[in-house]
């Protein structure tokens, strides 16, 4: 199937992809839902109205949340309609006026994040972090192969790709010191993750079985779980990461539908021991997403999502098995995607082994952790139908210096 748009067959944002986002334009600053096609953004609600699509009103919003609430049949119908109007010449006159060049739009956070959960689902990442942070304990926590370990993050500080990230300040404790000091993080890191956008709210007390988990998975984003390792290391016992993570989490401005990743589903790396029944079944499959992480343009890692131990459907079944309800706009992420090989590790913590082995960048500088001004960009693609590639839209962010405290604000060293 080809589009009446002049798209290259190798374009990762052709008809096989069709991600959703929220955009605005200079002449109409109201944020609204758009669909990316090639180098353009289709104003979805405007096109739906002019082309006579029923129920296009769920696109007449400044976030995807309402559309997320409509569930998998509506998502499939919308995708079918978009494919039809972008391929059939009959719709061209109605639709084409609602295309905006990508470089003429401003992108916004695509949905209001309800709850944000971060998993820890890549075995090599968990083992690497265990070796670095807890050298006297087993690499993996006792429960790790029995359940996908996770924690809640701060939904209110999830930001869209392109948002600057202010270097956080906080407490950290120098090696060999018994007392903490206060100041900007000196170990600011990235975590390359895949995020899953949830729709189809559920009632409190009603678990979602694994076999139905896919009905609540609308799409994927790339997610950079910025991490201040020095703040995290000092604060995280026994309740987990808090300020070391909560200052910012960046996601792609475009949400790629799971429906675009059908050809990319693959077997998991293998689960031994076999998980408990609520985590077992044919829905437990991986995704063949190829990630790339650059720092100031230098590729520093190529994580492979197929290396992740737990599937997104298992994560969702686990997160609701206690009866926790889902809301439209819930977001959960995989945790850092790291494989066995060094170049597939998704954090500087692992790539530099906690700063010991500095990474050389193409500009001749080297990094243990991030410096002010550094720009981190993650991209990904997956195999699509007929040899095509499905692009997963980038997430990028630049580190800006820590804020100086207002005079009298009471910060500073003890």
């Amino acid at each position: 199937m080809t589009s009446w748009l002049d798209l290259d067959a190798t374009d990762p944002f052709g008809l096989q992809t069709l991600p959703y986002g929220v955009f605005s334009t200079a002449d109409r600053p109201t944020p609204r839902i758009g669909v990316r096609i090639g180098g353009f953004v289709l104003d979805a609600a405007a096109a739906a109205e002019q082309a006579g699509m029923e129920s296009g009103e769920t696109w007449a919003c400044s976030s995807l949340n309402r559309f997320l609430g409509r569930g998998p049949q509506a998502w499939a119908a919308a995708r079918e309609w978009l494919t039809m109007v972008l391929s059939g010449d009959a719709y061209r006159d109605a639709v084409e006026p609602h295309l905006h060049p990508l470089d003429a739009v401003t992108m916004h956070l695509p949905f209001e994040v309800a709850d944000y959960v971060d998993f820890y689902a890549a075995e090599h990442h968990a083992a690497n972090v265990g070796q670095i942070f807890r050298p006297d304990s087993p690499d993996l926590p006792a429960a790790w192969k029995h359940l996908p370990i996770a924690y809640h993050g701060r939904a209110g500080t999830v930001v869209a790709s392109g948002t600057d990230v202010v270097r956080p300040s906080g407490q950290h404790r120098a090696a060999g010191s018994s007392l903490p000091s206060f100041g900007p993080s000196a170990r600011l890191d990235i975590e390359a993750e895949v995020g899953f956008v949830v729709g189809g709210a559920t009632d409190l007390g009603m678990p979602v079985p694994l076999s139905e988990a896919g009905d609540h998975l609308f799409g994927v984003v790339l997610l950079n779980d910025w991490s201040a390792r020095d703040i995290q290391a000092w604060e995280y016992v026994p309740l987990g990461p808090f300020l070391g993570k909560s200052f910012a989490t960046s996601i792609s401005a475009w949400v790629t539908p799971l429906a675009a990743l059908t050809e990319a589903r693959v077997d998991l790396p293998g689960q031994e021991p076999e998980p408990l029944p609520y985590l077992s079944g044919p829905a437990a499959r991986g995704i063949d997403l190829h990630l790339q992480v650059t720092v100031n343009g230098t590729v520093v890692a190529r994580p492979e999502f197929r290396h992740v131990y737990w599937s997104p459907e298992q994560m969702l079944a686990h997160l609701t098995v206690n009866g926790a309800s889902l809301r439209n706009g819930d977001l959960f992420a995989s945790g850092t995607v790291s494989g066995a090989e060094a170049h597939t590790r998704g954090s500087l913590l692992e790539l530099t082994w906690n700063g010991r082995d500095r990474l050389e960048l193409d500009d001749g500088t080297a990094r243990g952790f991030l410096e002010d001004g550094d720009v981190v960009t993650m991209t990904a693609w997956a195999p699509g139908p007929g040899g095509s590639r499905v692009g997963v839209s980038e997430v990028t962010g630049r580190i800006v210096p820590a804020r100086q405290p207002a005079s009298g604000g009471g910060y500073g060293e003890r």
Copy 2:
């Protein structure tokens, strides 16, 4: 000052209190903002309109979030106006028609919870839990006296007082077993906490200094952080509690303004070592709130909030010091309020020392942890002006049995 309502001078919900909630009535099921006075609920927006209050439109909502966004001056002005119209006879005719008897209204969640953070701020609770869960480690984590430890909870499962709580199922591991099993929690517990309702959204990257933290504290609720100890114990290393807590968190239907607790501010128990400068200052004060916890009507604990080590202002300053932004409707809680004496412990885990010392109830039964059908109710009061008591509205909830999995749902034992 007295009200034209026929209130007893000892009524804990007199003019000194004036908590806010969201209610509906049989003849008008739209949830709307109410103010509790004695045994009545004042329809705030309706009264404001009839009595000619300016900016009463922030009350014409089904949640407090918009009002929370207006900040401390507007909160003070609203409280002043309410006091005026409920005490001055001149307003009686305009206001009285908008009073509804408490027993004729249905209460709802008073605000949409943005992010929910749970602290761990009572020293005796942290030490007790440390002894029970980590007998081979020091009672308190290394950072405990340097910063108020906290984690993010699930905002979407915060429910209003009166909501039934379904016993959660999940993985737990029996003592002496190496493998987990799946089933309903056998160690379902309570945590008696005080929650703080945040208003005055801030920008990302801008910490709130301790001296300004009070400007973002609108009010308090009682909070029951229901906890499945068996699920929690198996899952929480290294990222903290997740499914052991996320199935439900109950809060009072009424939010008591901090402005009603002015007389109740007291010195903290004492902080040694002195906290870092961003956590030090005259705003670091406690609150003299007297809690009571009943199980099926038997008083099982009388926790004292003045025993809590960290102040709510310190908690808020800490949670934003990394630049994390606040949203209107953020909620943070103190963690379990437990003091040195056994009867001041706010969880069954501590009261029964992990089930060892069963609690006798007045009906002749005994409890290690909660049984199906148990009703847990927490109430509190604080000293008010002129010897009055400020009532903090109850939080109550009943345990209902675990849901049977749908056939074919894939639950059950391995």
